[in-house]
């Protein structure tokens, strides 16, 4: 019964956006992620590409689309850093897939759920990053869980304010 309900919600509540939004919002997230640390310095505790990935994955409710968006944004984010390309890609691929999978089953209109999801997926993304870097690749990396906690909180705060704004961009019948 719950599955039937979920499927019907999935069919009825898939959000649609203008085609430009799919290109401009992720690009804006990448640009701001690269530029804002120049303004806020070491207090750049956010991961905007992850926030955007989670938003579209929750809204579209399509694991494949969430996976692809997470992979593309993660790869571009890696390309801008000095690290190997693919670490953020793997982390955000998994996060996009999970967000879309959860979005099928929960009410994504609820702000509290979206914020909690952002917080949890941020920590998960950091954990996957650490796992891939240290254990999969065998590279040495100093790690600060406190910083990752700040980033997760930052993502949640940003999601709280930005998700309602992005909701206004969706197409309505």
């Amino acid at each position: 019964m719950a599955r039937v309900g979920a499927i019907s919600r999935h069919d009825m509540e898939v959000r649609r956006y203008p085609i430009l939004v799919y290109g401009l919002i992720p690009l804006t997230a990448l640009v701001l992620q690269a530029w804002l640390p120049r303004v806020v310095g070491r207090y750049a505790w956010f991961d905007l590409p992850l926030v955007v990935t989670v938003y579209f994955a929750l809204g579209r409710r399509s694991p494949i689309q969430g996976t692809l968006m997470g992979a593309v944004l993660g790869l571009f984010e890696d390309a801008l850093t000095g690290h190997a390309i693919g670490i953020n890609g793997i982390a955000k691929t998994v996060c996009g897939f999970l967000a879309a999978s959860v979005g099928i089953r929960v009410d994504v209109e609820n702000s509290a759920i979206r914020i909690v999801l952002n917080f949890a997926l941020s920590l998960l993304s950091s954990s996957i990053y650490l796992f891939v870097y240290r254990f999969l690749l065998g590279l040495s990396l100093e790690w600060s869980w406190m910083t990752q906690l700040y980033i997760a909180i930052g993502n949640s705060v940003i999601a709280f304010f930005v998700f309602p704004l992005l909701d206004r961009l969706q197409l309505r019948d």
Binding site: V31, A34, W35, E77, A79, L80, G86, E142
Partner: protein
């Protein structure tokens, strides 16, 4: 089969993308000789292409935002804060507002001029060729401290060039594109620079930690290291020139992983979080100012004149030696040539030997005793005469002892000190 793919389509897509990225990662990681995994120092073509795409996509809007911010800030400072005053008393303050506006603009120009002047002054004072560049973006990750500058291969930038500010070193160029370059900051975990403590002269390796702070690692505990000591580049890494300021010792903490080792936390001299303009050292060849070049040319000219004068002097000596036959003994037997003997230099003039006198007396050359004896006797003729009549004397014993220190083949003719100096031309 079709239903299998339809049913597990999502998982299959996820798996495919994950495996593809893992393969891509495996290609980028290399194993060193010590058995440790590391990222390649230079990206492969495929990886570099992806970085190029990302930079080409992100850099233009990033630069636009950066320029817009500067523009807005300028407008805010120069116009909007004056507008309120303008509204309060538009009629009476019109002239003053205009002057204030101009003054603000001039002040801004002056500040910028001073800043650029100091930068240019440093650039000119600096001994190496540098290229000024502006920072317009970062890598966007706390785990990777990189930033982007608006100069690239079109401005002759290359990988591994040092990036500095007048305050201290900043990083090194990691990747170069056409009109931009990626710089790896010194507080990145993968960064490394050879440094030396100014007073204790202890060398170490500088790198960043997880929090983006600088630390010198792999150091044995040393009580001489105190907070406040200056840290300079050591110059051994072939990237940073020697003696550039890095920062100062903030605190010394024990290495948590190894007993007896310490880590030095360094406060950077440059403001790594707020970089605007930087200098890229494009050439390590010394570059001198026109004044210094002039001094060098003068020095070279003087050296040439001195060498010419010495040459002239040498020629004159040779001519004199040829034209003065009295300085050589035509009757002297030819000396046996020793093949092992060092070849005399052209500058060394052979010691002259006087001609035989027609009427020899006791003062004539050759009538004097051996050089050591003469030297011991104080070159007194009387002592020489006495020596010939008294075979055993104190002077003779001294002479023997002195002669013992001389070479056995030390003939008077071959010892300039023992020879009477030719005073005139015979």
């Amino acid at each position: 089969m079709e239903s299998f793919f339809a049913r597990y389509r999502n998982y299959l897509v996820l798996l495919t993308i994950l495996v593809a990225q893992m393969i891509g990662l495996a290609v980028q990681v290399r194993r060193t000789g010590s058995g440790r995994n590391t990222l390649g120092m230079q990206d492969g073509e495929g990886v570099r292409l992806i970085r190029l795409w990302a930079t080409a996509l992100v850099s233009p809007p990033e630069r636009f935002i950066h320029s817009s911010r500067l523009l807005v800030l300028g407008l805010w400072q120069n116009y909007f804060d004056l507008r309120r005053t303008h509204a309060e008393n538009q009629q009476l303050q019109q002239t003053i507002d205009r002057l204030r506006l101009e003054q603000a603009a001039l002040l801004e120009d002056a500040k910028e001029g001073q800043r650029l002047e100091s930068l240019m002054g440093f650039q000119q004072k600096y001994l190496y060729a540098t290229q000024a560049a502006q920072v317009f973006g970062t890598g966007g990750s706390n785990l990777s401290r990189v930033f982007y500058i608006d100069k690239g291969s079109a401005d002759k930038l290359e990988r591994d060039m040092a990036v500095i500010t007048p305050d201290g070193i900043v990083g090194k160029v990691r990747e170069v594109f056409r009109h931009s370059a990626q710089v790896l900051a010194i507080n990145d975990q993968n960064s490394g620079a050879g440094v030396i403590l100014e007073t204790t002269r202890i060398r170490g390796i500088l790198r960043g930690n997880a929090d983006g702070r600088l630390q010198i690692v792999d150091l044995l505990a040393d009580k001489r290291i105190q907070p406040g000591e200056k840290v300079l580049t050591a110059g051994g890494d072939q990237i940073f020139p020697r003696g550039l300021p890095v920062g100062e010792v903030e605190k010394v903490v024990p290495d948590p992983d190894r007993d007896g080792f310490i880590e030095i936390m360094v406060k950077p001299a440059a403001h790594l979080d707020r970089l605007d303009e930087v200098l890229v050292i494009t050439s390590m060849q010394p570059r001198f100012s026109p004044q210094e070049q002039n001094d060098l040319a003068t020095s070279e000219t003087l050296k040439g004149a001195e060498a010419a004068a010495l040459d002239e002097q040498r020629k004159a000596s040779t001519i004199m030696a040829e034209r003065l036959p009295g300085l050589t003994d035509p009757n002297a037997p030819p000396k046996p040539v020793d093949p092992n003997a060092p070849q005399p230099s052209l500058l060394v003039v052979a010691p002259a030997k006087p001609l035989k006198p027609i009427h020899p007396d006791r003062f004539s050359p050759g009538a004097a005793p051996d050089a050591p004896t003469a030297a011991a006797a104080g070159d007194k003729p009387k002592a020489q005469a006495e020596k010939t009549s008294a075979p055993v004397s104190r002077t003779a014993s001294q002479a023997d002892s002195t002669a013992g220190s001389q070479p056995a083949s030390g003939q008077s003719a071959s010892q300039p000190d023992s020879e009477p100096k030719p005073q005139r031309n015979p």
